[in-house]
Amino acid sequence: METGGVMGGVSGYEYAILGLILLIIGLAGVVLRRNIIFLLISIEIAINGVFLLFFGASLKVGYISQAIVLVLMAIAAAEAAVGLALAISIFRIAKTVNIDELSEMKQ
Protein backbone atom coordinates (compact mmCIF):
# COMPACT_ATOMS: atom_id res chain seq x y z
CA MET A 1 0.00 0.00 0.00
CA GLU A 2 1.29 3.35 -0.97
CA THR A 3 1.59 5.79 1.89
CA GLY A 4 2.12 9.42 1.07
CA GLY A 5 4.26 10.89 -1.62
CA VAL A 6 7.17 13.01 -0.55
CA MET A 7 8.81 12.40 2.82
CA GLY A 8 5.98 10.46 4.42
CA GLY A 9 3.44 13.26 4.27
CA VAL A 10 -0.32 13.01 4.23
CA SER A 11 -1.66 11.14 1.22
CA GLY A 12 -4.70 11.98 -0.88
CA TYR A 13 -6.70 9.14 0.65
CA GLU A 14 -6.69 10.70 4.08
CA TYR A 15 -8.05 13.91 2.57
CA ALA A 16 -10.68 11.92 0.68
CA ILE A 17 -11.82 10.02 3.79
CA LEU A 18 -12.05 13.25 5.78
CA GLY A 19 -14.04 14.82 2.96
CA LEU A 20 -16.39 11.84 2.90
CA ILE A 21 -16.97 12.11 6.64
CA LEU A 22 -17.83 15.81 6.30
CA LEU A 23 -20.11 15.00 3.33
CA ILE A 24 -21.99 12.38 5.37
CA ILE A 25 -22.28 14.76 8.35
CA GLY A 26 -23.76 17.40 6.06
CA LEU A 27 -26.23 15.00 4.46
CA ALA A 28 -27.31 13.70 7.89
CA GLY A 29 -27.82 17.28 9.02
CA VAL A 30 -30.09 17.96 6.04
CA VAL A 31 -32.32 15.06 7.10
CA LEU A 32 -32.16 15.60 10.86
CA ARG A 33 -32.74 19.34 11.22
CA ARG A 34 -36.06 21.11 10.63
CA ASN A 35 -34.75 24.69 10.78
CA ILE A 36 -34.31 26.15 7.30
CA ILE A 37 -31.11 28.01 8.26
CA PHE A 38 -29.58 24.78 9.55
CA LEU A 39 -30.52 23.05 6.31
CA LEU A 40 -28.40 25.58 4.42
CA ILE A 41 -25.57 25.26 6.98
CA SER A 42 -25.61 21.46 6.51
CA ILE A 43 -25.43 21.89 2.74
CA GLU A 44 -22.41 24.17 3.20
CA ILE A 45 -20.70 21.51 5.34
CA ALA A 46 -21.37 18.89 2.65
CA ILE A 47 -19.91 21.20 0.00
CA ASN A 48 -16.81 21.70 2.16
CA GLY A 49 -16.46 17.91 2.22
CA VAL A 50 -16.59 17.87 -1.57
CA PHE A 51 -13.82 20.51 -1.63
CA LEU A 52 -11.66 18.16 0.42
CA LEU A 53 -12.49 15.22 -1.87
CA PHE A 54 -11.36 17.14 -4.94
CA PHE A 55 -8.30 18.42 -3.10
CA GLY A 56 -7.35 14.86 -2.19
CA ALA A 57 -7.78 13.90 -5.84
CA SER A 58 -5.44 16.74 -6.83
CA LEU A 59 -2.61 15.02 -4.96
CA LYS A 60 -3.07 12.16 -7.44
CA VAL A 61 -4.01 13.76 -10.74
CA GLY A 62 -2.35 17.15 -10.59
CA TYR A 63 -3.42 20.75 -10.14
CA ILE A 64 -6.43 20.68 -12.51
CA SER A 65 -8.42 19.14 -9.68
CA GLN A 66 -7.58 22.15 -7.54
CA ALA A 67 -8.92 24.49 -10.21
CA ILE A 68 -12.15 22.46 -10.02
CA VAL A 69 -12.24 23.36 -6.32
CA LEU A 70 -12.24 27.03 -7.35
CA VAL A 71 -15.16 26.44 -9.74
CA LEU A 72 -16.99 24.61 -6.95
CA MET A 73 -16.45 27.55 -4.58
CA ALA A 74 -18.19 29.88 -7.03
CA ILE A 75 -21.08 27.43 -7.42
CA ALA A 76 -21.35 27.11 -3.63
CA ALA A 77 -21.47 30.89 -3.26
CA ALA A 78 -24.28 31.15 -5.84
CA GLU A 79 -26.14 28.30 -4.13
CA ALA A 80 -25.90 30.01 -0.74
CA ALA A 81 -27.18 33.31 -2.17
CA VAL A 82 -30.18 31.69 -3.88
CA GLY A 83 -30.93 29.48 -0.87
CA LEU A 84 -30.88 32.38 1.56
CA ALA A 85 -33.09 34.48 -0.73
CA LEU A 86 -35.57 31.58 -0.81
CA ALA A 87 -35.34 31.29 2.98
CA ILE A 88 -36.18 34.97 3.41
CA SER A 89 -39.05 34.66 0.94
CA ILE A 90 -40.45 31.61 2.78
CA PHE A 91 -40.04 33.40 6.11
CA ARG A 92 -42.03 36.39 4.79
CA ILE A 93 -44.91 34.15 3.69
CA ALA A 94 -45.10 31.64 6.53
CA LYS A 95 -43.57 33.66 9.42
CA THR A 96 -41.71 30.55 10.57
CA VAL A 97 -38.41 28.78 9.94
CA ASN A 98 -39.81 25.30 10.57
CA ILE A 99 -40.03 23.46 7.26
CA ASP A 100 -42.56 20.97 8.67
CA GLU A 101 -45.16 23.73 8.71
CA LEU A 102 -44.71 24.48 5.01
CA SER A 103 -47.26 22.01 3.69
CA GLU A 104 -49.50 24.20 1.53
CA MET A 105 -48.86 22.05 -1.53
CA LYS A 106 -50.49 19.02 0.13
CA GLN A 107 -53.98 20.44 -0.20
Binding site: G5, V10, I24, G26, A85
Partner: protein, 171 residues
Amino acid sequence: MIEKIVFYAAGLSAIVFSLLAISRRQPIFGVLYLFLTGLTISLLFAIKNSFFLALIQIIVYVGAVLVLFVFVIAMMNLKISELFFGAFRRWRYLVVIVSIPILLILGSAIFSQLSLREQKFTYFTAKDVGGALYKDLFFQFEYLSIFLIVAIVITVFVGSRFEKDEKIQRR
Protein backbone atom coordinates in the same frame (compact mmCIF):
# COMPACT_ATOMS: atom_id res chain seq x y z
CA MET B 1 5.81 14.05 10.61
CA ILE B 2 4.68 17.53 11.64
CA GLU B 3 2.46 17.53 8.57
CA LYS B 4 0.64 14.44 9.81
CA ILE B 5 0.19 15.89 13.29
CA VAL B 6 -1.26 19.12 11.88
CA PHE B 7 -3.45 17.16 9.46
CA TYR B 8 -4.98 14.94 12.14
CA ALA B 9 -5.49 17.84 14.55
CA ALA B 10 -7.16 19.97 11.87
CA GLY B 11 -9.22 17.08 10.51
CA LEU B 12 -10.47 16.06 13.94
CA SER B 13 -11.37 19.65 14.78
CA ALA B 14 -13.16 19.99 11.41
CA ILE B 15 -15.31 16.94 12.23
CA VAL B 16 -16.02 18.17 15.77
CA PHE B 17 -16.86 21.72 14.63
CA SER B 18 -19.17 20.47 11.87
CA LEU B 19 -20.97 18.17 14.32
CA LEU B 20 -21.36 21.14 16.66
CA ALA B 21 -22.55 23.32 13.78
CA ILE B 22 -25.48 21.08 12.88
CA SER B 23 -26.50 20.38 16.48
CA ARG B 24 -26.91 23.89 17.93
CA ARG B 25 -30.36 25.32 18.54
CA GLN B 26 -29.62 28.98 17.76
CA PRO B 27 -28.66 29.62 14.13
CA ILE B 28 -25.96 32.17 14.93
CA PHE B 29 -23.93 29.58 16.86
CA GLY B 30 -24.26 27.17 13.96
CA VAL B 31 -22.84 29.81 11.64
CA LEU B 32 -19.99 30.54 14.06
CA TYR B 33 -19.01 26.86 14.16
CA LEU B 34 -19.27 26.81 10.36
CA PHE B 35 -16.73 29.67 10.35
CA LEU B 36 -14.37 27.50 12.39
CA THR B 37 -14.93 24.53 10.05
CA GLY B 38 -14.05 26.69 7.04
CA LEU B 39 -10.90 27.96 8.73
CA THR B 40 -9.70 24.45 9.60
CA ILE B 41 -10.35 23.33 6.00
CA SER B 42 -8.28 26.28 4.79
CA LEU B 43 -5.51 25.07 7.12
CA LEU B 44 -5.82 21.61 5.53
CA PHE B 45 -5.28 23.22 2.12
CA ALA B 46 -2.31 25.19 3.42
CA ILE B 47 -0.34 22.24 4.79
CA LYS B 48 -0.08 20.87 1.23
CA ASN B 49 1.51 24.14 0.05
CA SER B 50 -1.51 25.30 -1.97
CA PHE B 51 -1.64 28.70 -0.33
CA PHE B 52 -3.68 30.31 -3.12
CA LEU B 53 -6.56 27.91 -2.52
CA ALA B 54 -6.33 28.46 1.25
CA LEU B 55 -6.50 32.23 0.77
CA ILE B 56 -9.46 31.94 -1.60
CA GLN B 57 -11.19 29.69 0.93
CA ILE B 58 -10.77 32.31 3.65
CA ILE B 59 -11.54 35.37 1.52
CA VAL B 60 -14.43 34.11 -0.61
CA TYR B 61 -15.95 31.35 1.45
CA VAL B 62 -15.47 32.22 5.09
CA GLY B 63 -15.36 35.94 4.42
CA ALA B 64 -18.23 36.48 2.01
CA VAL B 65 -20.65 33.55 2.04
CA LEU B 66 -20.90 33.13 5.79
CA VAL B 67 -21.34 36.87 6.35
CA LEU B 68 -24.41 36.47 4.13
CA PHE B 69 -25.73 33.91 6.63
CA VAL B 70 -25.14 36.35 9.50
CA PHE B 71 -27.05 39.09 7.65
CA VAL B 72 -29.99 36.80 6.95
CA ILE B 73 -30.15 35.67 10.59
CA ALA B 74 -30.08 39.32 11.65
CA MET B 75 -32.90 40.07 9.18
CA MET B 76 -35.10 37.25 10.47
CA ASN B 77 -34.62 38.39 14.08
CA LEU B 78 -36.00 35.21 15.63
CA LYS B 79 -36.92 34.96 19.25
CA ILE B 80 -35.58 31.99 21.16
CA SER B 81 -39.09 30.66 21.77
CA GLU B 82 -39.61 30.41 18.02
CA LEU B 83 -36.72 27.94 17.75
CA PHE B 84 -38.39 25.15 19.72
CA PHE B 85 -40.23 22.99 17.22
CA GLY B 86 -42.98 20.87 18.73
CA ALA B 87 -42.43 17.22 19.57
CA PHE B 88 -39.09 15.54 19.16
CA ARG B 89 -39.18 12.60 16.76
CA ARG B 90 -36.93 9.79 17.84
CA TRP B 91 -36.97 7.90 14.53
CA ARG B 92 -34.85 10.59 12.95
CA TYR B 93 -31.79 9.05 14.59
CA LEU B 94 -32.17 6.11 12.23
CA VAL B 95 -30.38 8.42 9.80
CA VAL B 96 -27.15 7.73 11.69
CA ILE B 97 -27.61 3.98 11.10
CA VAL B 98 -28.24 4.57 7.40
CA SER B 99 -25.33 6.96 6.92
CA ILE B 100 -22.62 4.52 8.07
CA PRO B 101 -23.19 2.05 5.14
CA ILE B 102 -23.21 5.00 2.73
CA LEU B 103 -19.85 6.08 4.16
CA LEU B 104 -18.47 2.55 3.75
CA ILE B 105 -19.72 2.22 0.17
CA LEU B 106 -18.28 5.57 -0.91
CA GLY B 107 -15.08 4.84 0.97
CA SER B 108 -14.68 1.52 -0.82
CA ALA B 109 -14.95 3.41 -4.10
CA ILE B 110 -11.99 5.52 -3.01
CA PHE B 111 -9.90 2.61 -1.79
CA SER B 112 -10.42 0.73 -5.03
CA GLN B 113 -8.18 3.37 -6.64
CA LEU B 114 -5.18 2.72 -4.39
CA SER B 115 -2.90 1.87 -7.31
CA LEU B 116 -2.83 5.46 -8.53
CA ARG B 117 0.57 7.01 -8.11
CA GLU B 118 1.09 10.02 -5.90
CA GLN B 119 2.23 13.07 -7.82
CA LYS B 120 5.17 15.10 -6.69
CA PHE B 121 3.36 18.22 -5.73
CA THR B 122 4.97 21.56 -5.13
CA TYR B 123 3.01 24.80 -5.41
CA PHE B 124 -0.26 25.99 -6.78
CA THR B 125 0.35 29.57 -7.86
CA ALA B 126 -2.02 32.11 -9.40
CA LYS B 127 -0.32 31.45 -12.75
CA ASP B 128 -1.32 27.79 -12.55
CA VAL B 129 -4.90 28.82 -11.78
CA GLY B 130 -5.03 31.03 -14.86
CA GLY B 131 -3.57 28.30 -17.03
CA ALA B 132 -5.93 25.64 -15.74
CA LEU B 133 -9.01 27.86 -15.96
CA TYR B 134 -8.34 29.11 -19.49
CA LYS B 135 -6.90 25.95 -21.04
CA ASP B 136 -8.25 22.85 -19.34
CA LEU B 137 -11.42 24.12 -17.71
CA PHE B 138 -12.49 26.64 -20.32
CA PHE B 139 -16.06 25.34 -20.62
CA GLN B 140 -16.57 25.22 -16.85
CA PHE B 141 -15.21 28.76 -16.52
CA GLU B 142 -17.54 30.21 -19.14
CA TYR B 143 -20.46 28.18 -17.85
CA LEU B 144 -19.78 29.62 -14.43
CA SER B 145 -20.25 33.20 -15.67
CA ILE B 146 -23.71 32.37 -17.04
CA PHE B 147 -24.48 30.44 -13.85
CA LEU B 148 -23.63 33.44 -11.68
CA ILE B 149 -25.77 35.78 -13.81
CA VAL B 150 -28.72 33.39 -13.49
CA ALA B 151 -28.14 33.19 -9.73
CA ILE B 152 -28.14 37.01 -9.42
CA VAL B 153 -31.37 37.30 -11.43
CA ILE B 154 -33.09 34.60 -9.33
CA THR B 155 -31.93 36.18 -6.08
CA VAL B 156 -33.17 39.65 -7.03
CA PHE B 157 -36.47 38.26 -8.31
CA VAL B 158 -37.16 36.08 -5.28
CA GLY B 159 -36.02 38.73 -2.84
CA SER B 160 -38.13 41.57 -4.22
CA ARG B 161 -41.29 39.72 -5.18
CA PHE B 162 -43.51 40.58 -2.24
CA GLU B 163 -42.56 44.19 -1.70
CA LYS B 164 -45.67 45.55 -3.40
CA ASP B 165 -48.06 43.58 -1.18
CA GLU B 166 -46.20 44.59 1.95
CA LYS B 167 -46.47 48.28 1.06
CA ILE B 168 -50.23 47.90 0.57
CA GLN B 169 -50.53 46.22 3.94
CA ARG B 170 -48.64 49.00 5.66
CA ARG B 171 -51.05 51.64 4.36
